[in-house]
């Protein structure tokens, strides 16, 4: 099992429109993912059953959860309850470190099974 994840040894996945993602450590219950935003880029409003906490590693983000919006700077965090609609607008380029419970299966590249049954 991989226990340690070196930032330098992993590349960014380009999601388009100035947003990139890097999946770091995870198991079934917990996952940490970095999301890098260029200034002006958008994390479009969306929702999922996973609880999420975002930590601002760098940059400035106008972050909306439900009907509440807060301008977040380096070191700040927020919590997105299960199924809450949330999104952000990147004011100054930076990186969010997102934690999820449970892990986001949709973020992991699925290897097709060797046999179809």
């Amino acid at each position: 099992m991989v226990l340690f994840n070196s930032d330098k040894e992993q590349g960014w996945e380009d999601l388009g429109d100035g947003v990139s993602r890097k999946v770091m450590s995870y198991n079934d219950d917990l996952m940490v993912v970095k999301v890098r935003f260029e200034a002006g880029s958008i994390g479009a409003p969306h929702q999922h059953p996973h609880t999420q906490i975002s930590y601002v590693a760098s940059g400035v983000f106008e972050y909306t959860i439900g009907d509440r919006t807060f301008v977040m700077a380096q070191g700040d965090t927020c919590i997105v309850p299960s199924n809450s609609i949330h999104g952000c607008r990147c004011v100054e380029a930076g990186v969010l470190v997102d934690s999820f419970n449970p892990m986001r299966e949709d973020f992991v590249i699925q290897t097709p099974p060797s046999y179809s049954r």
Copy 2:
């Protein structure tokens, strides 16, 4: 419910021996906590049933999980499986951002009940 946690509005809890803690966002399932270490300070080996992921926000840490040790720098992460013995030695002063599933009840100050029954 508190959704946004400003880093500047929360103080550090001094744990002694060069280590401080700041509990950030949490619910029952997920908690993010900052732990600040002075150079040379130690996170003594311990274990807990919670899954933990540590993200190095700053500094350099010699981090041990079970029988494996890795020198972690800014941006790196590691995952501590449930009940794995883990600890660290701070090589250069910095901050770990720790995520836990479930939340760490022992990190939250308990308010005594108003009535004893």
